[in-house]
C-alpha cells in the first residue's frame, strides 16, 4: 500500500499519540536534547525516564511502546559510550535490550561500528539466528507459547523451541527447532488453505458479532496506524474504529452477519456465497453503528422518589424524557416509605413511560435463639428471601442487632411497613420454626415451617407474591352458561348496555369478532379490551362500553398473606385519590375485619364513601360497618342497627363482586335478629 506524502507525518504523530503523552514527550525531548543541543546529560536523563516508565511493564506493552523502549536502550548505550565515566554501562544497556527483544536491530546511523560489533557479540553469546519463511505471510507466530513477530530472521535462545504459525483460513502448523551456538538454522512454514476469512472493523468498538444468529464475540480495541487510511476515508479518526474483527473460517453458503450493541441500532449484512468460495481473505468496509436511544419518563403520585438506572442515580422524580441508550435496565425508585424496582427495556426511538408506586418494605428481624439441625441453611434461606419477593422490598437485620432491638428501631423510624421474625418452636428437639409476619401496627399472621424441608419458605414466598384484584373489567351484564344456548345468555344488563341495544334473554355469540361460548370466554377477552367492545347478539352487532367493576378483597383464602396485602393497600392509598382511594380504604377495612381489628375497621370504613349504588357500593360498606358493630358487643347494637338500615337503602348492592349475593336480604335478616 502506498501512503500519500501527507500521511507519513500524520501517522508518525498518531503512533506517538497512541502512547502515554508524558512518555512520548520525554522521548521526543531526549532526542531533541542530543540532536539539537548536544546535551548528553539532559538526553540521558530523559531516556532513562522513558525506560523507568516502560520497562516494568515491558511484557504487556503495545508494539509501538516496545519499539520506543528498545530505541531508548539503543540511545542510552550510544550516550553512555561517549563518556568514560559511563562507558561501562553500555554493555548493561545492550543486555537489557536483548532480554527485551533479541530481534531488535540497532540504528546504525547513530551507533558506531564498534558498538554494533559489541551488540552482535553479546547476541551471538546467547542467541542463534533462524531464517524463517512464511507462506502465506501475514500470520501470527508463537514461540514457546508466546506471541512473537513473524520476522524473516529471528534470534532464538539456545535450546529446543516450539514454533507455531497460524493464519485465519489456514491450518496452523507447528515445528520444533533445536538451536545451538554458531549454528544458523532455517525453517519454512507452508500453511494449507481451508476456508475464506472475513475481516472488518466497527465504529465504534463494542458491538456483538453474530453470524447466522450465533455469537462470535464483540469487536474490541481502538484502531491504530494500520486503520488510519480506512478511518480517514470514512471521515473518522483511527481510534474511532475497532481493532479488526476476523471471522477465521467462513463456512460455505450464504450468511447473515449481524451486529448488535446496547446503544446502537442493529446492523445486518447479507453475505453472498461467493465470499465463502473460492477461498480468499475478504475485508469489508468498516461498519458504522448508528446510535440507538430512547427516552424514559418516570412519574409517581407518591412524593419523594429518586430514580436509579442500573445503579446510577438519575435524580428526583418526576424524570421526563431522559435520553438513554436502548437496552434493558434495572430501574429502581427509592421513596421515603417503600421502594420500587423492575427491569425496563428501552427501544430505539421509542419513549417509555412509567407510573411507579412504592412497594412495602419487609424487614427481617432475625432468627431468635435455639440451636437446631440445619440452622445455617435456614439462616441462609432467610437472608436470601428478598430475591424471591416480587412485590416487597426486603431489608436484612443490622449486624449484631437482636430482633427486639430491631423491632424497636423500626417502630421508631418507620423504615419498614412489615416485619418478619423467626422463632423456633420449643420442642424437645427443635424441628419447627414459627414465622411471624406483622405490620408495625400489630396486624399479624403466624405460620409454622420445618427447617429441614427442601424449601421451607416456598409457601410463604408464594403467598407474599400474590396480590388480590380489587377491580375487574365488565360489561355490566349478568351472563349465564346454559347448555341449550350457543353462547352466554344475558340474564340482566345495566342501563348503558341496554341503551347500546343489548337484549336480555338472548345469548351473545361473539365478542370483538371472536366466537364466545361461555361467560368465562367473555371475561378472558375483556382482560385485554379497551374502552368498548363489539358483541354479537342474534344477527346484530352492538358496541358496548367496558366498565370497571369494584371487587371485595377475597378473605380467608390461604393463598394470601393478609398483613402483606394490608401493607400493600396502605402504601397504594398514599398515592391514590377519589374513587380509587375509597375502594382501597374499603378493602383495607375488610382486611382489618378479617384480622378482627373491628374498631380500626369501623374507623376506616366510616371515613369511606363508595359512590356506586350497584354491585360493591355504599350499601356493601354500610353492611360491613353493621357487622363490625355487632362484633363489638351489645353496647353498639344501636350503631349496628343504623348501619344495616343504611345498607337497605341500596337494594342493588352486592357482596364480593357485582355478581355476588345481594346485601339487602342479609341486612334485613340482621335487623330482624336485632329486634
Amino acid at each position: 500500500m502506498r501512503l500519500s506524502p501527507f500521511l507519513v507525518p500524520f501517522l508518525l504523530c498518531l503512533t506517538l499519540q497512541a502512547q502515554d503523552p508524558t512518555i512520548r514527550e520525554a522521548f521526543l525531548q531526549a532526542k531533541a536534547a542530543w540532536a539539537a543541543q548536544g546535551n548528553r546529560d539532559e538526553a540521558t536523563t530523559r531516556f532513562e525516564q522513558v525506560v523507568a516508565s516502560l520497562a516494568p511493564r515491558a511484557k504487556n506493552l503495545e508494539p509501538d511502546s516496545l519499539q520506543v523502549l528498545c530505541e531508548s536502550y539503543n540511545w542510552l548505550a550510544v550516550l553512555d559510550d561517549r563518556s568514560p565515566a559511563t562507558k561501562s554501562r553500555t554493555q548493561v544497556r545492550f543486555q537489557a535490550l536483548l532480554s527485551l527483544n533479541a530481534d531488535f536491530e540497532l540504528d546504525r546511523t547513530m551507533t558506531s561500528q564498534r558498538l554494533v560489533a559489541l551488540y552482535e557479540r553479546l547476541r551471538s553469546g546467547e542467541y542463534a539466528p533462524v531464517r524463517l519463511s512464511y507462506a502465506p505471510e501475514g500470520g501470527q507466530l508463537r514461540v514457546d507459547g508466546e506471541a512473537s513477530t513473524a520476522l524473516p530472521r529471528k534470534f532464538l535462545p539456545f535450546g529446543t523451541h516450539r514454533l507455531i504459525y497460524q493464519r485465519p483460513g489456514h491450518t496452523p502448523q507447528e515445528q520444533t527447532l533445536e538451536v545451538a551456538p554458531r549454528e544458523a538454522r532455517a525453517l519454512a512454514f507452508n500453511l494449507p488453505r481451508i476456508a475464506s476469512t472475513l475481516r472488518f472493523h466497527t465504529s465504534p468498538a463494542g458491538p456483538e458479532v453474530l453470524l447466522d444468529g450465533r455469537s462470535l464475540g464483540h469487536t474490541t480495541g481502538r484502531g491504530g496506524t494500520e486503520e488510519a487510511a480506512l478511518a480517514i476515508s470514512m471521515g473518522l479518526r483511527p481510534e474511532d474504529l475497532s481493532k479488526p474483527f476476523v471471522i477465521p473460517e467462513l463456512p460455505p453458503g450464504k450468511h447473515r452477519l449481524e451486529l448488535r450493541g446496547p446503544c446502537f441500532r442493529p446492523r445486518v449484512l447479507e453475505l453472498g456465497e461467493d465470499l465463502a468460495k473460492p477461498f480468499a481473505d475478504h475485508t469489508l468496509e468498516p461498519i458504522r453503528m448508528a446510535p440507538s436511544r430512547g427516552t424514559l419518563t418516570v412519574r409517581s403520585a407518591w412524593p419523594g422518589g429518586e430514580l436509579f438506572l442500573s445503579g446510577e442515580a438519575k435524580g428526583p422524580l418526576p424524570v421526563s424524557g431522559l435520553s438513554v441508550c436502548a437496552g434493558t435496565y434495572d430501574l429502581m425508585v427509592r421513596f421515603p416509605a417503600g421502594g420500587f424496582s423492575r427491569q425496563v427495556t428501552v427501544e430505539d426511538g421509542k419513549p417509555v413511560l412509567l407510573e411507579v408506586q412504592p412497594r412495602p418494605r419487609l424487614a427481617y428481624l432475625g432468627l431468635e435463639g435455639g440451636e437446631f439441625t440445619g440452622r445455617a441453611r435456614f439462616d441462609a434461606l432467610l437472608a436470601g428471601f428478598g430475591e424471591r419477593l416480587q412485590h416487597l422490598a426486603f431489608l436484612l437485620p443490622h449486624r449484631g442487632e437482636t430482633p427486639v432491638d430491631a423491632l424497636a428501631r423500626l417502630k421508631a423510624s418507620r423504615e419498614a411497613e412489615l416485619v418478619l421474625i423467626a422463632t423456633p418452636v420449643a420442642d424437645k428437639v427443635i424441628h419447627r420454626i414459627e414465622l411471624t409476619l406483622a405490620t408495625l401496627d400489630g396486624e399479624e399472621e403466624r405460620v409454622v415451617v420445618k427447617p429441614l424441608e427442601e424449601d421451607p419458605l416456598a409457601s410463604l414466598a408464594e403467598r407474599l407474591n400474590r396480590l388480590p384484584r380489587l377491580q375487574q373489567p365488565g360489561l355490566g351484564l349478568i351472563l349465564l352458561d346454559l347448555p341449550s344456548e350457543p353462547g352466554p345468555w344475558v340474564l340482566g344488563a345495566t342501563e348503558a348496555a341496554l341503551k347500546a341495544g343489548l337484549q336480555p334473554g338472548q345469548p351473545i355469540t361473539a365478542l370483538n369478532d371472536q366466537a364466545v361460548t361461555s361467560a368465562g370466554d367473555i371475561q378472558k377477552a375483556l382482560a385485554s379490551a379497551k374502552e368498548s367492545v363489539t358483541v354479537r347478539q342474534g344477527d346484530r352487532t352492538l358496541t358496548i362500553p367496558v366498565q370497571t367493576d369494584a371487587l371485595e378483597v377475597p378473605l380467608g383464602q390461604p393463598g394470601f398473606s393478609y398483613p402483606a396485602v394490608l401493607a400493600q393497600l396502605r402504601l397504594r392509598y398514599r398515592g391514590a385519590s377519589g374513587e380509587a382511594g375509597n375502594l382501597l380504604k374499603f378493602n383495607m377495612g375488610l382486611i382489618l375485619m378479617h384480622l378482627r381489628r373491628y374498631d380500626k375497621a369501623i374507623e376506616l370504613l366510616r371515613d369511606t364513601h363508595l359512590p356506586a349504588t350497584q354491585g360493591i357500593s355504599q350499601g356493601t360498606l354500610d353492611y360491613h360497618i353493621g357487622r363490625c358493630f355487632l362484633r363489638l358487643g351489645p353496647a353498639y347494637l344501636g350503631e349496628a342497627t343504623q348501619a344495616f338500615r343504611q345498607a337497605l337503602k341500596y337494594p342493588q348492592a352486592t357482596l364480593l363482586s357485582p355478581d355476588g349475593p345481594l346485601v339487602a336480604p342479609l341486612a334485613q335478616q340482621a335487623l330482624d335478629d336485632l329486634k
Binding site: K428, I478, L479, L480, D481, L482, P483, S484, W489, L491, G492, G505, S518, A519, G520, P554, L555, G556, Q557, P558, H594, R596, L655, L656, D659, G660, P661, L662, P665, L666, Q668, Q669, A670, D672, D673
Partner: protein, 489 residues
C-alpha cells in the same frame, strides 16, 4: 418446708433427679403408643390400633397425645363402625379435658355433625348448633370453621329460617375459602336465595359455581339447576311432544304406572304387570328394590334406596318385609321430609299421616289428598280434588299457598292424577277433567303457573298415569295404555 430425716435424703435426691426423666419417659411412651396406633390403623388393624390408643388414654391420661387419640377413636366409630352414638363419649372427653388442644376444633365439629344427624325434630338441633357456635367462638381461625358454618346454615334451613341460613352459607365460602366446603356452601347459598325470592342472585351464584368448579359434582349440579330454572321460569317455551322416550323406544314396558325422578337424574319406573320398579339411567333399565305389588307411590330414601307405598303398606329396599301403615287403605302418595319422616296421603282420609323413623305415626289435618310431592326447602305440595285446590304446605304441614284448580288457565280441570317436583323448585301436575281436560301444568315454588299444555293440543291420546321432571327441563309422561314413556320439551 418439712425436713427429711438424714437417712432418707439420698433416696429423695435420687427420686428428684429421676423424676424429670420419668416424666420424659412417659411423654415418649405416649408418643410411641400414639404412633404405634396410627401405624396399625393405617394397616387396617383397627382392633390393635384401638387397643393401643385406649392404653395410651389409660397410661398417660394427661398427655398431649390423648386428644389426638380421642379424636381418632371417635372418627373410627363414625367412619368404620358406623356407630355415631359410640363416638360421642370420646368427643365428650375431648371437650371436657382437652378443650384447648388443637384437636378440640375438629372434635367440636364432629360432635355437632353427629348431633345434627341424630336430630329428629327441631328441638334436637339446639345442641348441635351450640357445638358449632362454640367452635366458631373458640377457634375462629380453625379450618373446621368453614364446615361448621355450612352445618349451621343447614341447621337453620332445617328450621325453615332461610334468612339466617344464608349468611352462614356465604361466610362458609367467603371467610374461609376451603376448596372442599366452598362448592357445597355455594350450592346451598344459591338454593337459599331462591327460597328467599332472589332468583337473579340464585342464578348468579350457580353461574359462579359452574365457572369456578366445573369439574366438581357441585359445579355440574349448579349447571342443570340453573338451566331448569331459566327454562321454566324465564324462557318458558311452549311444551311440545317429542315422542316416545328414550327416543324410538315403543311398547317396551309392561304397564308403566308410576314415575319418580332421583336426585342423580335417573328415573324410577314402576311396571304394574311386573309388580316391580326399575331404574332408567340413559337407556339402560335395571330392576331396583323388592317386588311391590300394586305400588301407589315411589319414594327415594335418604340413603339412596327405594321405598314403595302400596295401598296400605310400606315396602323398603333395606327391610323387605312390608310395614303396615296404620289404618290407611287408599294411599295416593308419599314424601320423605328432612327429618326422615314419611308423609303419606290417603284419598279416603281427611289428614296426612306422618310416619316417624321410630315407627310411630301422627296425623296432620288436611282434606283428602289425591297426589303429593316434595317442595323445595322442605314442605309438600298436595292436591285435594274435593276442595279443588293445590296446597303448598310448609314443613309442619300447614298451608302457605293455596292455588285453586284452574287459576290462570282458560278453563278449570277437575282432578289431579299425579304431582312431581324437580328438586329445583318447580312442581308439575298431571290434571284431568273439567273443561280443561287432560294436560300438564308446571308451577314455580311460589305457586305461579309457569307452563301448561293440554294433551288434546299436543296429540296425546294414551292413558297417562304419572309424570316426572328431568334435569333438562323436560316432562316425562307415563302412558299406561301404550306401554311407553313420552317426553314433552
Amino acid at each position: 418446708m418439712l425436713a427429711l430425716p438424714t437417712c432418707y435424703r439420698p433416696a429423695a435426691a435420687i427420686l428428684c433427679l429421676l423424676a424429670p426423666g420419668l416424666r420424659a419417659q412417659g411423654g415418649d411412651l405416649a408418643e410411641r403408643l400414639y404412633q404405634s396406633g396410627e401405624r396399625a390403623y393405617a394397616a387396617r388393624s383397627y382392633k390393635e390400633a384401638i387397643e393401643t390408643w385406649q392404653q395410651l388414654l389409660q397410661s398417660n391420661p394427661t398427655s398431649s397425645y390423648c386428644p389426638k387419640a380421642l379424636l381418632k377413636l371417635a372418627q373410627h366409630q363414625v367412619e368404620i363402625e358406623k356407630k355415631p352414638e359410640a363416638a360421642l363419649p370420646f368427643l365428650d372427653r375431648l371437650k371436657a379435658d382437652f378443650l384447648k388442644s388443637p384437636e378440640a376444633a375438629e372434635g367440636l365439629l364432629l360432635s355437632g355433625r353427629l348431633l345434627l344427624g341424630q336430630a329428629h325434630r327441631p328441638g334436637d338441633l339446639k345442641d348441635a348448633m351450640a357445638e358449632f357456635h362454640r367452635l366458631l367462638d373458640l377457634y375462629p381461625d380453625a379450618p373446621a370453621c368453614a364446615q361448621a358454618r355450612l352445618e349451621l346454615g343447614r341447621a337453620w334451613g332445617l328450621l325453615g329460617q332461610w334468612g339466617r341460613a344464608l349468611p352462614q352459607f356465604l361466610d362458609a365460602f367467603r371467610l374461609r375459602y376451603d376448596v372442599r366446603v366452598a362448592p357445597q356452601a355455594m350450592l346451598a347459598a344459591a338454593e337459599t336465595m331462591d327460597l328467599l325470592g332472589d332468583l337473579p342472585g340464585c342464578l348468579r351464584m350457580f353461574q359462579q359455581l359452574h365457572t369456578e368448579f366445573p369439574a366438581l359434582p357441585e359445579g355440574q349440579e349448579a349447571t342443570w339447576r340453573m338451566a331448569v330454572r331459566v327454562k321454566h321460569r324465564l324462557q318458558r317455551p311452549g311444551l311440545k311432544l317429542e315422542g316416545p322416550w328414550p327416543q324410538g323406544r315403543v311398547k317396551w314396558l309392561k304397564t308403566p304406572l308410576l314415575l319418580q325422578g332421583t336426585p342423580e337424574g335417573d328415573l324410577l319406573i314402576f311396571q304394574n304387570d311386573l309388580d316391580h320398579a326399575f331404574r332408567l339411567r340413559g337407556t339402560e333399565l335395571t330392576p331396583v328394590g323388592p317386588p311391590g305389588p300394586s305400588a301407589r307411590a315411589l319414594v327415594n330414601s335418604r340413603a339412596g334406596t327405594l321405598w314403595m307405598l302400596t295401598r296400605n303398606t310400606l315396602i323398603r329396599e333395606e327391610a323387605p318385609a312390608p310395614q303396615p301403615i296404620g289404618t290407611l287403605n287408599a294411599v295416593t302418595g308419599g314424601v320423605l321430609d328432612a327429618w326422615d319422616q314419611l308423609w303419606i296421603a290417603d284419598a279416603k282420609v281427611a289428614a296426612l299421616t306422618v310416619l316417624a323413623p321410630d315407627g310411630s305415626t301422627r296425623s296432620v289435618g288436611s282434606p283428602p289428598i289425591q297426589a303429593l310431592t316434595a317442595r323445595l326447602g322442605g314442605g309438600l305440595v298436595a292436591a285435594s280434588d274435593s276442595d279443588r285446590k293445590l296446597l303448598f304446605l310448609d314443613q309442619g304441614g300447614q298451608p302457605r299457598l293455596v292455588i285453586p284448580y284452574g287459576k290462570d288457565l282458560p278453563a278449570a280441570f277437575r282432578t289431579v292424577t299425579a304431582l312431581c317436583s324437580d328438586g329445583a323448585g318447580q312442581v308439575a301436575a298431571l290434571v284431568d277433567g273439567g273443561d280443561y281436560g287432560e294436560g300438564v301444568l308446571i308451577f314455580g315454588p311460589d305457586g305461579t303457573l309457569l307452563r301448561q299444555a293440554q294433551f288434546k293440543t299436543l296429540g296425546i291420546s294414551g292413558r297417562i298415569t304419572s309424570l316426572a321432571l328431568d334435569h333438562s327441563g323436560a316432562v316425562i309422561l307415563c302412558d299406561r295404555r301404550n306401554d311407553v314413556l313420552l317426553r314433552l320439551n
